[in-house]
């Protein structure tokens, strides 16, 4: 039972990280109609900057703040220099150009920090465990990720549903031509939304640093999972991104933890040994295929 709760928490933790990535990406998809493969690169930039600034300043909080600002700057710069010209192009051009950007970002990072994974430390006050229930001790830092993630989700909900900026974002996701026709500076809105998404991706990377490997290419591993999240949730929908992220996070984590023992009860242990890990790593893609077959627009399609 304790193991199950622990794995559910792990799933939640993965889920909120995926959500931070997916929120920005789904808005960029929904509003600018841009397939941005380089979103994962911003996650990587966030992780590297946080590690670097924490070492340089000695303060974790300051390191996080500087890394967040740095990722925001890199994101806005990328939008202004390269991505801006891609909004009017077709998806094929966008995929290829942002694929090129991935190569550029990964190699730049490798030039600066090398190809090997770098060690990203935690301050002492975040290293302990917290006893949530009798016999259940859970790492404090992972709990913090869950809390931060859920807080960001709540703040995002407030911004998107209750503010003027959010109204513009929602309007842009459902009909951007109309928003431009109503006299809104759509270029500026694009840059703001992109910067917003970049900062969120950076935040995910910053928090990922101490628990996953910080190395060039780390963004692409999570990026493809984020695509699954967005497609499951429905492109352009923040609500869908949250639901999709939690579903994907839980399915992936629980699948990896329990599929093998579960299979062992229905087949022979050796068959479960062989099939379990393979099936567990394929599970979220199967989920995506099923969702698309039943609801091609995702669970929470934003466009009617």
């Amino acid at each position: 039972m304790i193991l199950i709760i622990e794995q559910i928490l792990n799933g939640l933790q993965l889920g909120v990280m995926l959500f931070l990535m997916a929120a920005g990406l789904t808005l960029v998809f929904g509003i600018m109609n841009l397939v941005n493969l380089a979103h994962g690169a911003l996650y990587m930039v966030g992780a590297y900057l946080a590690t670097y600034f924490f070492q340089a300043t000695g303060s974790f909080v300051l390191g996080v703040a500087l890394a967040l600002a740095g990722t925001l700057a890199v994101g806005i710069l990328t939008e202004l220099v390269a991505l801006r010209t891609l909004y009017e192009r077709d998806h094929l051009d966008q995929v290829l150009a942002t694929f090129g950007l991935i190569l550029i970002f990964n190699e730049l990072i490798a030039m600066l920090w090398g190809r090997a994974a770098i060690y990203s430390a935690l301050p002492e006050y975040l290293q302990g465990h917290l006893e949530i229930a009798a016999g259940l001790r859970y790492p404090l830092y992972r709990l913090l990720i869950i809390v931060v993630g859920l807080a960001v989700a709540a703040a995002l909900w407030y911004v998107v549903v209750r503010t003027r900026l959010g109204m513009l974002i929602r309007a842009g996701a459902s009909n951007r031509t109309m928003v431009a026709a109503l006299g809104i500076n759509i270029r500026l809105l694009y840059t703001v939304v992109f910067g917003f998404g970049a900062a969120l991706a950076g935040l995910a990377g910053i928090m990922a640093g101490p628990i996953y490997a910080v190395q060039p290419g780390m963004g692409e591993l999570v990026l493809i999972q984020v695509f699954v999240v967005i497609v499951v949730g429905g492109i352009g929908s923040i609500r869908g991104a949250l639901a999709g992220a939690l579903i994907v996070g839980l399915v992936d984590t629980l699948g990896r933890a329990f599929l093998k023992p579960f299979l062992a009860t229905v087949t022979t242990p050796s068959a479960a040994d062989a099939a379990g890990p393979a099936l567990a790593s394929m599970l979220i893609y199967l989920l995506m295929a099923v969702v698309l077959a039943l609801r091609p627009e995702g669970l929470f399609a934003s466009r009617g």
Binding site: F29, V35, A82, T85, R89, H91, L92, D93, V95, L96, A97, F99, G100, L101, I102, L103, I104, N106, E107, L108, A110, M111, E220, I224, F227, V228, I230, V231, I235, A274, P277, A278, S281, M282, Y285, L286, M288, A289, L292, A293, P296
Partner: protein, 323 residues
Amino acid sequence: MKPSPRTLVLFAVLALLAAVPTLAAAFNQPFYLDLFRRIMIFAIAAASLNLILGYGGMVSFGHAAYLGIGAYAVGVLAHHGIHNGWLQWAVAIGGSALVALVIGAVSIRTSGIYFIMITLAFTQMLYYMGISIEEYGGDDGIRVAKLSQFEGLIDLANPTAFYYVVLALLAVVLLLVHRLVNSRFGMVIRAAKSNDARTRAIGFSPYPYRLAAFVIAGAICGLAGALLVNQTAYLTPEFMNWTRSGELMFMVILGGIGTTAGPLFGAAALLLLEDLLQGWSLLPKLVHNFWQFYLGIVLVLVVLFAKRGLAGLLRGSKDGADG
């Protein structure tokens, strides 16, 4: 019918390719035999992607899947002691076609971003499957000790013989794709690309045509996978890595999307560029170490400024989608 300048260029290039083994032997540079064989194998894969991407408008971001299925068909059979090349290649082609049928049947119901994502996701699924099957090497891969055997006909262990097999198959595939896109079937595919609604209005349902093209493309790419694993003599899930799908797309764009010879030019241009960046002694070591950085810059520049690729240079100012 008078052959167009581009057709003549294609024939000239194929003739040059036929001369490569002789030239490589004359200059004692067997490396080039290997390089050009690799280029032609990727040209076959790119030509199959061009069929659905260039002519069908289906932006498949998972074409490396079939490269992998073809490679695994040969590698797995060889691992279990079955070396008959006819059987291996038939399983490679048939298996890829079958997988393409399943993936296509689901994916083609969607379009736009969803199509890109779902083809990518299916390929990732196969990639992780390859990684997690320890029996066939997991993520390390395994050596394929004995190449496909064609008793009494041809010995692939002979580099020159293998080279001409690949060249012949490339010519057949380019001809096949050319005939296909200019047939009635190809007309429907291209019509559905330019306007789905009008295609329906004149009485064609695009879905079965698209699916058929998708399956044919998968089958051809499976053949390329079978050739590739014979080329490397090593089976690895990296054949299915998503960056490989990106490279195939780039080859199609670089050579000139929706043209007969484009995939060959694109494969040659990309692989030669990669080879130069990695090993050309005139470039500083800094370039060799971070060659993908420069490749990325070329990629972005080509997409932004040279949309019609290398074949576009030959086409001049005339614009026309037909190959």
